[in-house]
Amino acid sequence: MTALRCSGLSRSFGALAAVDGVDLAVAPGARHALIGPNGAGKSTLFRLVSGTMRADAGRVELAGRDVTGLSEVKRCRLGMSQTMQHASLFASMTAAETVALAAARHENGPISLLPRRQPRVAARAEELLSDVGLAGRGGVAVPALSHGERKQLEVALALACRPSLLLLDEPAAGMSPAESARLVELLRGLPPEITVLFVEHDLDLVFSLADAVTVLHLGRVLCSGTPDEVRASEAVRAAYLGTGRREELFLS
C-alpha cells in the first residue's frame, strides 16, 4: 500500500506539456521531496495531486483509493491537505480563527447555523498553533503576522485538516535560516502516520529532511530514489549537470 500513487499523470497548457506522464509512488510515513528546476512541473503536479486542477490523463490514488475524479474538497476530506507556496490565508481573521475554521470542519460534525461554543475546536486550534511555534500569537490578525509566521500558520492550517498526506509547496520559501530550522524541526516531529510530500528549493533542507527524493525535469520524472541515490545519480548529472555545478539544477 502506498500513501500516494500517481500513474501516467499528464496535463498540458496548449502545446506545453507541463506534466507529462508522471509516475510517482510515495510510501506511507515518507518524507518525500520533489525537486527540479523552475518550470519542471512541480507546482502543476501538486495541483493535479491536490485536485485544484484536473489532469488530462492519468490516475491519482490516495492510500489505494482512486481519487482522480474527486474534487479538491473531497480529497481533503479523505485526508489530503496542502500548504500554498505563497501564504494564502484569510485577511479578516486572526491566527486562531484561521486554524479554528479548518478545525471546525474536521473535528466536529456538521457546521452549525447558529452560534455555539466549540471548546474542542478552540483547544485544537490552540494546540496546533503551539505545535507550529505560534503559541500566544492566536489573537493576532493575519495581516499583522510576519512572513515566516504566516508560513507557520499555513502548516497549522493544513494540519488542522487531520491529513494522512500533507502536501507542502515550498514551505521554507522566504524564511530566515532560523525560521527554516524551526520548520525542519516541526516537520521531523510530525507523527509517522502523516506522510509528507514537499516541493523545496533549499537543498540543505531537502537532504536533511527527506528520506526519498524525486527529480522532475520538463514535466517528466528524471530520477527517483533515496537522497544518496539521487546525489550520486549519473542520470541527473548527465542529463543536466553538464557544467558540473550541480547547484544550477536546483537554483534557477
Partner: protein, 330 residues
C-alpha cells in the same frame, strides 16, 4: 467582525465581533429597541409610517448584507426575492387569509424557493458574472411580474391587499402595523445576526476572504454560498411580506433593479458586513427617497444617483469590504 474591516466601519462592526465586550452591545441594542417600540406613542402617523418603511427596507438590506458583506457575493438582483415574497404574501392575503403568520411564512417560503431555483447557477459563477447574472435575474423576475397579469396584476401591481390580521382582528391603525413590522424586523435581524456569528457564518467570511483556500481545507464552498443565498432569499421574502403589510400594495418596481440597487447602496453606506450599518444605510436611503424625494418634484432617484457616485469616490474603504476577490496577505 474583523480587525481588517474595523476601520472602514466605525462602530458598525460591533454586532458581529466576537472580541467586543458583549454587555455594552446588549445595552445599546436594548435601548434602541425601547426607543423603536415607543416611537408610535410620540410620533405623528406619517413619521410612524416612514419609520415602518425604514424597518422594512432595513430588513431587506440586512438580508443583502449577509450576501454582500459577509460572504462577498455582490448581488444586483436581490429585490427579486424581496418582491417575490411581497407578491406571494399579498396574493395569499387576498385569496386565502391575511391572518398573521400566514402571509409572513408564505413570503419567506416563496423568497427562499425563488432563491433556491435561481441560486444554483449564480453561486457557481464568480466576479463580474455574478453581478451580471443577478442583475439579469432581477430584471427577468420584474418583467414576469409585469406580464403575468392574472396573478400579479401586471403593471398596476397587486392592489387591494387586506390589512394583516392578528388574533382575528385586522391591524387597521398605523401604529399596530408599525409594531407588527417592528416585531418581525427584530426576529429577522436576530436570525441573520445569529447566522453571521455561527460557525457557518465564519465559513462564509472565509469564502469572502479566500474561496480557493476554503476549498483546499475541505469546505464545499458552492454549497455554502448556495445555502446563504437561499437564507438571504428567505429573509428578503420576509421583508417583502412586511412591505405588503405596510403599504398594502406591490408593484413591479418593488422587485426591480432600482430597489435592488438602493438596497446595495444602503449596505455600502453602512459598511459592508455590518448588519447595524446596513440598517442605518437603509434609513438614509428611505429618508432621501420618501422624505426628500417629494421636495425634489419626485426626483429622489436623481439625488440617490449622485449619492451613489459620491459614495464610490469618497468611501473607498466603505466599499473595501466588498472587493470581489480580496488580496490575501503575501
Amino acid at each position: 467582525m474583523t480587525a481588517v474591516d474595523a476601520p472602514a466601519v466605525p462602530g458598525g462592526t460591533a454586532a458581529v465581533s466576537p472580541r467586543v465586550p458583549r454587555g455594552r452591545d446588549g445595552l445599546v441594542a436594548a435601548a434602541v429597541l425601547v426607543v423603536l417600540a415607543a416611537a408610535p406613542l410620540f410620533l405623528a402617523p406619517f413619521a410612524t409610517t416612514t419609520l415602518a418603511r425604514i424597518l422594512v427596507f432595513a430588513l431587506f438590506a440586512v438580508s443583502l448584507d449577509l450576501l454582500v458583506g459577509v460572504t462577498g457575493l455582490p448581488s444586483l438582483g436581490h429585490a427579486a426575492y424581496f418582491g417575490s415574497g411581497a407578491y406571494a404574501a399579498g396574493w395569499v392575503s387576498i385569496n386565502v387569509t391575511a391572518e398573521a403568520p400566514v402571509p409572513l411564512l408564505v413570503g419567506a417560503a416563496v423568497g427562499a424557493v425563488a432563491a433556491a431555483l435561481t441560486g444554483w447557477i449564480t453561486v457557481r459563477t464568480g466576479g463580474v458574472f455574478f453581478l451580471m447574472l443577478t442583475l439579469a435575474i432581477g430584471e427577468t423576475v420584474q418583467q414576469v411580474a409585469n406580464t403575468w397579469e392574472s396573478v400579479t396584476g401586471g403593471a398596476n401591481g397587486l392592489t387591494g391587499v387586506p390589512a394583516v390580521r392578528a388574533g382575528g382582528a385586522p391591524l387597521a391603525n398605523a401604529g399596530f402595523v408599525y409594531w407588527y413590522v417592528l416585531a418581525v424586523f427584530v426576529l429577522g435581524f436576530v436570525l441573520v445576526w445569529l447566522v453571521a456569528r455561527s460557525p457557518f457564518g465564519a465559513a462564509l467570511r472565509g469564502i469572502r476572504d479566500n474561496e480557493p483556500r476554503m476549498r483546499a481545507i475541505g469546505y464545499p464552498t458552492a454549497l455554502y454560498k448556495y445555502g446563504v443565498f437561499v437564507i438571504a432569499g428567505g429573509v428578503a421574502g420576509v421583508a417583502g411580506s412586511l412591505l405588503v403589510a405596510q403599504q398594502r400594495l406591490v408593484t413591479p418596481a418593488d422587485l426591480g433593479f432600482l430597489t435592488a440597487s438602493l438596497a446595495l447602496l444602503a449596505v455600502i453606506i453602512g459598511g459592508a458586513g455590518s448588519l447595524w450599518g446596513a440598517c442605518l444605510g437603509a434609513a438614509l436611503v428611505i429618508l432621501i427617497r420618501d422624505a426628500l424625494g417629494p421636495g425634489l418634484g419626485g426626483h429622489g432617484t436623481l439625488l440617490l444617483g449622485i449619492v451613489f457616485v459620491l459614495v464610490v469616490y469618497l468611501l473607498p474603504r466603505g466599499a473595501a469590504g466588498l472587493r470581489l476577490r480580496r488580496r490575501s496577505p503575501s
